[in-house]
């Protein structure tokens, strides 16, 4: 198995991990709506995952860049820029005092990311298989 195969195998695993993070986020948000968790605990818990998630995603994008996977890189670039911009404006963390006002926005964002990771998961899977097939030929 060559470089591309390994790379996409790794990406598939990463995308799966990110996917699960997003599912976790969404579950937590709906818990908040149903009053199973208070906003302080929610923010404390979710904020632990915000930066790791962003870093993991950025790391994956950098890997694509270094290995010259241009299409995969360009696909991921907008999200990296979006996350970077949020960190630069210091509003990437969830704020317990504002959470109820911004909840619908956060939920929407999490769903979008979920969809994006799902699509990229299948894309990486496809690319991995393609890479493996081309190698075996």
């Amino acid at each position: 198995m060559g470089g591309a195969g390994w790379l996409f195998l790794f990406s598939v695993l990463m995308a799966a991990g990110l996917l699960f993070t997003m599912v976790f986020f969404i579950i937590m948000f709906s818990d908040l709506e149903c009053d199973y968790i208070n906003p302080i605990d929610l923010c404390n818990r979710l904020n632990q995952f915000v930066l790791p998630e962003n870093i993991a995603h950025a790391f994956l994008t950098v890997l694509f860049l270094l290995s010259g996977q241009w299409i995969a890189f360009l696909l991921n670039l907008p999200l990296v820029l979006y996350n970077g911009n949020k960190i630069r404006n210091k509003n990437h963390m969830y704020d317990a005092t504002e959470i109820f006002r911004t909840l619908s926005g956060h939920k929407k964002e999490s769903f979008m990311k979920l969809g994006f990771y799902l699509l990229s998961f299948f894309y990486y899977l496809y690319r991995m298989i393609v890479a493996l097939i081309s190698e075996s030929e």
Binding site: L32, E33, D35, N38, P39, I40, D95, A96, T97, I99, F100, R101
Partner: protein, 934 residues
Amino acid sequence: MASPSQQLPPGWAAEWDPTTQRYLFTEPSTGRSQWEVPTPTPATLIDHGPSVSPPLPATHHTKRRQYAAGQTQAYYGTNDGLGDQYGTLGVQQQQHPAATAQLFTPGLAAEGGFAGQQQVPYYPPPQEPQYINAPGFGQEPAYHPPNAPIHHLTDQFGQMGMGQKPLHLQTTNLLTSPPDPRELIHPPPEIRLPPNACITSSPFANADPSYQRCTVNAIPTTSSLLNKSKIPLGLVITPYRTVKEGEQQVPVVTDTVIARCRRCRTYINPYVQFIDNGNRWRCCMCSMSNEVPQLFDWDQTRNQPGDRWARDELNHSVVEFVAPTEYMVRPPQPAVYVILIDVSHTAVQSGMVATATRTILENLDRIPNDDERTKVAIIAYDTSLYFFSMPPGTTESTMLVVSDVDDVFLPKPTDLLVNLTEARQSLESLLGRINDMFQDNHTIGSAIGPALQAGFKLMAPIGGKIIVLSSSLPNIGAGALKNREDLKVLGTSKESGLLQAASPFYKTFAIECSRAQVSVDMFLFSAAYQDVASLACLPHYTSGQTYFYPAFNAARSEDAIKFAHEFGEVLAMPIMLEAVMRVRASKGLRMASFHGNFFVRSTDLLAMPAVPTDQSYAIEIQIEDTLTQPFVVLQTAVLHTTCQGERRIRVITLALPTTSSLSEVFASADQVAIATLLANKAVERSLTHKLEDARDAVHQRLVEVLSSYKSSMTSAGAGANAQLAISENLKMLPVLVLGLLKNVGIRQSAQIPPDLRAYAQALLTSLPSQTLIPYIHPTFYSLHNMPPEAGTVGEQGVTLPTPLPLTSERLERHGLYLIEDGQTIFLWIGRDAVPRLVMDVFNLPNYEVLRGGKTTLPVLDNEFSQRVNAIIQKTREMRRGVYYPHLYVVKEDGEPPLRLWALSCLIQDRADVLPSYQQFIGQLKDKVNGANNY
């Protein structure tokens, strides 16, 4: 109007005239016909308010129709009703100086030579002042004598035989009817519940507007109907308003029998239904059938069967239950006060420390301490922390200095937080000495964050109130802030950044405080930039309040008195501890968003560690499902611990009818509540977006309401129209919105320091309607020609003059005026004021030697001075809240900043880029017409 025949008064008929394409209205019984929509007679009465005695001659009715047409040239100057007194007043006044220039003294004028000349035009009809002098608008009617205004109004309705009929919509044209400030004191439109909605006939069964008021008093049944009207639906709640002497106390149910719905947890109230021979009750919100508790009909004090119908919770909309142990997480805690005093060089030099310690000393007896459990701690701070240990049994205290502010620790585990009664003597001696101890302190800097952390550590196990007194920008330890005031940013879109917290410390610490049931009050004194916006975050999320005294200097006695008064009131305030508030509503309604000082702990639970009195909260309501019931109930419940150590639940129930008619929604709209809600929304929007957006949103909302009214309620429909129509009860909304747009909190200007803006925003989101309305729409009196009874003690305390419209056209060169917004009082004196007037009021020989600025008015041995003082005194006392307004004397040709400040209160004038009222109305009209033209 789509089908005018539906809206006609009895006896009238509408005929379509094909030649003119209009409706012709005829009254067959009298043979009259006219093009205008006839107005029913009762409406004439409502229109003119209770000032007009009920039996109006029929001529008035016909005259009313000419009103609009004849008024264009006579804006403020017609010869009937209100215009009479305003218009001729001006004319009469101008004659005075000419005729009797050397003699004119206002005080004597009323009784002396001018009496005959003045009496006719100078003051309103004798019934009028009832409203103005009622102890504050929106109080429960039954507390007044029978001739009180609300009764008056309801009597009128009764006479008209309108009974339970829907409210009548009275259209008025904004272009021709100038705003009358007296309308703001009118009670909101009547709540007309269907018959038998309430199970008792108690007059207190529905909540008084001062406790809870809704923006519309008839809830639309569907959200599409609400959207069509464009009126924002919301609730304005002041659950813990002060009860003045003579008002009814909140009844307390002491037998701990608390009947609640099993499903929706609603408390039993006057709108439930008893079924099954009174053994069960049906919840008014979710229709669940519940069992009546066994002891509900048992009088536990006398141990005999009691009368169910006499129970307070079935007769009163505002009621307090004593809560049993199920409602407690822990035994009721004592009240705890930790006072953090800034003792840095600037604080000591400004006299703040001396004034503060003296005020605490004087108010030790007033601090709530009925159960003798109240605990107090005092921590002084500059760049270090100074703790005072007061061991029991001694009268001395020892000071412990902690200079490590990076990792705050308590120097001693005990004796720092002491029992107020036990340590009374040591506290007294300590308070007497603090100012001397730090007299020579030359340290500059403020470690407010570490001081807060120390105070928090001290009281965290119990909870309570931290009162912070601070004179400078915090610059050491946690929560240190930078001076970010940038004059270049003011007036630009980046300005809203300056209104947000600069350091996350203030938000995270606020959350910690909220968890530990600690509330923070901020008293800020700095002359320089202090970042009020960041500091105000703490009170905002912990249900405290921010008080701001810019450039405080105790050497000016006015500053010292103001601060001492307000600080004393805050200390003496009977706070509610460890409170949570929840608003429940009938099925189909949902509380969508919350505004005010609290922390939202779950979707509908507001956490308030200590509820101060007279703080208001606004809640937006969404209509989720179609409302099928004839009326809805909105119930606010505040579970709290009183400072006497009793766990209680305060329940406020408001029942409102539902309606499917748009005209009724408009007719029942409450302009005061709408303005309060809009103020809250505007401030929130200015923080999340930009100030510009906030102003646009408010303005846009008003345009939408007007457009919707025009297209659905007037005959003009979609086309352009020369009128700008709105219902009579919303007549003041445009001027209130204009006042809001011109308020320091959101005004368009590049001159307003961010500190003042942040403070104004804190006020806009926390003041109850009674104080907020004057804050956005100040009161303006003319004193030199006030009626003779003004300023004297009448039936309802000191009689106030009639408020004037807020325009500088009213200012005359020889006059004396009072402008007040609840936070400041301006005494405006014209440049041609006669020496006698100056002598009578200020005890100075003439206008030239009079100095403008903060003053205390002398009480002189003449009637006029005493009346002016009485009016100022009344102005300071009449509203709920701790505020003690400063009095500024403003000379017409005095220093420009003060003059401009006073003039900025006259919101109907053009100021800088902001439009005058006429221009504003003109803009609105263009927008409304434009909006419908596409």
